[in-house]
Every structure is written in structure tokens, then in C-alpha cells.
Amino acid sequence: MADSTTPSVGETSMPMPGQPPQGEPLLRMRGIGKSFGAVRALSGVDLEVYAGEVVGLVGDNGAGKSTLVKTIAGVGPADEGEIFVQGQSVKITSPQVATRLGIETVYQDLALCDNLDVVGNLYLGRELRSPLGIMSENEMEKLGLDVLRSLDVKLPSIRSVVATLSGGQRQSIAVAKTILRNAKIVLLDEPTAALGVAQTRQVLNLILRLREQGIGVVVISHNLADVFEVVDRVIVLRLGKRVATFDVKNTTPEQVVGAITGAEFGAILKTNGTSEGSNNE
């Protein structure tokens, strides 16, 4: 997918129903709406995530990115709309339901226990145990190493206490946790925020590794440079609506910025094709 190097400005590629990249999407959301009192946080948003694809979710503050992710993660269920996981209609009412459906979210705060070692964090809450109820440390360590290896993560030791690791390594462990839970779809909330250059590279590499494993990845980010490096499609939200979708191969950051801010650059913007028609100003 990365062979095309000819940027054809003005084209917006968008998987129409019936001609997706690879058949049925892992996750399809249709007409998602959510209100907080009088505030309409999301209205009529569609989203589709295919296996082995990285989707970038961008938008200005208050555009509804976090709200949308929360509806997928089960933290703040949607008021209206339909969600399909692998073609099955589902209702995501709680984080547990999301986990059961193979949807895992890595929040910015990572939710790691700093005082435990890497293995302890990877298996927290689902420790492998022998029939006697004793933890099978060696087995957990071995499987943990396998997952970390598949993500190309480098650590001083898998027995290092997490507090001693760098930001990028901690992010890697949070992501490895989702894989150990057999995630099919991984949502990453600002994965590169507050990371240095080398660590950002490490995390971007991690995202590509997830894609290689056929996982559908949704990345929320403010950093367009990062987004353009790893993402296949960019979905732009503005004021609770999906206003544009870009195929990253044929797009410049300026076009995306234009969509985010609402300043149009020629004819590059198209609506996302919701049945309600154009939501585009």
C-alpha cells in the first residue's frame, strides 16, 4: 500500500459501502449520536475500521474525538446509531462488553502499576496460575516476551519495575497488554503526546507492528506529522460531525488541517456520505 508516491491532490478516496479495502470491516458504526444535555457532542457519525488498517481520528479540541472513542470503548455509550463488529450488530454498554468484543483502548494515562514489573502489568487481573492457585511466572514471562518481541519492543529486562522505564516503553507495555487480551481493534488515545523523538519513533513502529498482525488500529492524535507517518486513512471530525476522509497517500497535511479548521482548500473536501446528506459547511 505504500508503493504509490505520486500525490494526487484533490482526490479523496473513501471506502464506499460494498467496496471496502478488505471485505467486511472489523468495526462499522453508523449514525452515531450523543448529547450531553443540550450539547450535541456527536451527530450522525459513521466510522469503519478494517483489519490490518490504521485509521487516524483527528479534529480540533471539542470536535468529538474522545466522545467517539468512548462510545467504542464502552465508557460512554452512544445515544443513537448502530455498531457492527465483524458484521454482527452489537450494543457496547460497558468496557467489559468492549473487551469481550475484542476492542481495547489505551488511554493517555496508560493505567500501569508503576510498582509492578513488566510481567505483572502485562497480566494484571488475568494472571496465569497453576492448579494450586500459584502464579505461573515463567509461563507468563515467556508469553509476555513473545508478544513484546512481535511488537519489536526493547526493554532492560522484562522484570524491570515499570516506574524505571521510559515513556515509549511504557506505551509499548500498555499496547502489549491489549494484544494479550486478544484485541482485534485497538484504540490509541494520543499515543505520542509527551514523548521524545526517539520514543515517538518507537511508538509509531509499534503501531505498524499492530497493523502487520491484522489488527484494526484507531489513532487519535493532534500531531499530524505522526499521523501521516503511520496512518492509512484519516478521518476528520469537526463539531461532532465527520466532515472528511482522506487516503493518506493522496493527501497533504495542509488539506487535513483545512478540514480540521473548516477552511476549505478547493474541492478537496467531501462529506462522509451519511444518509442525511451533506453536513459540510
Partner: protein, 417 residues
Amino acid sequence: MSEIIDKNKTGGSSTSQSVSVEVPEYRKRQTFGQLLRNDLGFLPVLLTLIAIMIYFGATTGGLFFEPRNLSELLQQVATIGVDALGVTLVLLLGEIDLSAASVTTLCAVVMGILSERNGLPAWEAILLAILSGAFVGFINGIFIAVLRIPSFIVTLAASIGYAGLLLNLLNAQSTLIVHNPDITGISGSATSYLTDALGVGLPTLVLLVYIGILLYDQRGRRKAGLRTKSMPQLIGQIILMVVVVEGALALFESYHGVPNSTAILFSLILVVWLVLTKTPFGRHIYAVGGNIEAARRAGINVVFIRVAVFTLCSALAAVGGILAASHQNAVASQVSTTLLLQAIGAAVIGGVSLFGGRGSAWSIILGTLIIGSLENGLALKSQGSEVQQMVEGAVLLLAVTVDAVVRRAQSRSSSGR
């Protein structure tokens, strides 16, 4: 942009299977100060203990080091140690239990009344006393975990309430003498020692089993391709353990043998250590103490963990009360004013953090010995309790200060990356 992806992909996959995850060179060389704050944290405590012991040994003309005194010292600290073990569990959660001393005395009173006034057999009285301790802790836990009342308020209220309750139970009797030979036999009579065969055999057996497990685990790890300890390191560890355990046993055997209460204390430490480090329940205690939100998101039943820990803490405090009653052949109506801070102090001096998530069951040994040595040594020098209290207060404050300073230094060094 797409070239970058290409580069990443090819660059990544060519190294994917060949390179190992663990890169020891990533580990920064630790300065000696950092080592003292992490792996060697026990060293200053050990040196302090040795300094205290040498001081008292020198100023009491060797009286302090007589096996009789050391044996007596260990029996004196059994209650502090068992209470400290319970308090350790609570501290690991980042909570505090101020009711430990009251519960200790309350449960001793329950046992005393059941056996002396109601004539229950010793073991039934002891069992019921431990159960009432557990129940009392369960109530603390319900208020703290379910109703979310700060633990220091709940346990402070409990502490005052139970001090009153035990007076009420005693019916204004100021001291209840315990006559039951089965109870005083635990730690308050001339025969309160394990037989030589049992006293030496049991710890040695436990040690051998542990060494066996270590070697078996080493082999298993090598087979599984996991990183193993170097052989000299392993052998050094084993030799150190053998020397410490057998040395302590030799010391005991040079007097009457291993005191029952010491055997009980070490068995309890062993069990708590196994639970904390080898079972998911123990790991969850550390997780809740480290990051309660992460623990909750990981699906850990945080309420259950907290209730269980407060229940265990008070049950251990009950055991401490039984040992105290047995050692003194009596149950006092007055809650010891120093026991609570001695128990918390023993845990904190040993390296259990007041802020949760850090500390080991074994660490209370050094803390308990320091507290016990101070008390014993000052008593040998015929210093009154006023000096003891001042010294213990200062030592406790010092330990808590070190804990807070270390924690701040650690958060500084980890946020710098």
C-alpha cells in the same frame, strides 16, 4: 510520507524474530545512592540494627548479647512483629490501620474471658478470638472499601470504641490472670520452646525445600530460554540463606531452643510472603496500592481486596494479642500506648512504604528487631520508659522521613526521562 512507512516496515521486519526483547545494556548504571534506594534498601537498616546492638552490647557489659537475653528479646517482640505483619498488608494498599493495638488487646480479652470465665478449651477460645478479630477487621473494611470513609478515621474510631468495649467486657476488672496451661504454654512458660528436633529440623526442612525450588526453577527457566541468574549469584544467595538460618538456630539452641512465639511469627511471615508474591491475590494487593485506577480497569475487584486486607490485618492483630496474653500470663485492661506505633514503625523502618505498593513481608524482621533492641537494651540499662518512648518516637520519625524523601527522589528520577 510513504517512503517512511516503507523504511520502517522493512527495517522492522528484518529484525523481528532475531533480536531479543531484553537488552540489559539499556539498564542504566546505578550510582551507589540509587542502589541504596532500591535493591540495597535494607542495608542501612541492617547497619543501624548492628550499631544499636553493638552499642547496647558494649554498654551493658555483654549482657545484651547473652543468649538468654536475645531469646527473651525475640519473645518480647513477637506481638509487635505479628501486628507489624498485619499493618504491612494495610500499608501496601496505601491505607493505615490505627486500630491494630486496640484489636490486639480486645481479642486477648475475648480469649481470656472465654477460657477463664466461660471455661472454654484453649483452642476454642483462641479460635474464637481470632475470628472476632477477623470480624472486627471486616467491619473496618466495609466502612473503608464500600462506604469509602478514609481509613485513618474509621480505624481511629474503631480504636477508641474497642478500647471501651474491652473495658466493658472485663466488667471493671483491671487485670485478668490467665491460668489455662495450654494458653500460657504458647509463650509464657518455661516449656514454651520447640523441641530441639522440631526447632532445628523444621526450619532446615523449609530451607531445603526452598533451595530445591530455586534450583528447579533455575532449570525450568533455562529450558524455557528465559534469562537466568548467574550460577555464582545463585550459589551465593543459597549460602547466605543457609548461614543466616542455621546461625540463628545455633543461637537459639545455645539457650532453650526456638521459642514457640518466634516460630509462630516466622511461619506467619513465610505464609504472608508466599501469598503476597506467589498468588494473584497478593499481586492484586500490590496493584491496588500502586495504582488503584489501573487495578480497577484491569478487572480486579478492588472492594474485595481492601475488605480482605483489613480483615487479615485485624486477624493477625488478634494473633498478636493471644501471644501477648500468653507471654504475660494475663490480659491487661489497658491498651498498650506504644504497641500501635511500634507495629507501624517496625513495618516502615523495615522498608514498607506508607504510600502503598512497596515493601516485603520479610522487611518487618529488621524493623521489629530494631524496635525490640531499643526497648530491651534501654531496659537493661535501667532507663525508664520515658527515655524509651523518646528514642522510639525519634527513630520512627526518622524512618518515615527516609521513606518520604526516598519516594520523592524516586519520582524525580523517573519523571526526568
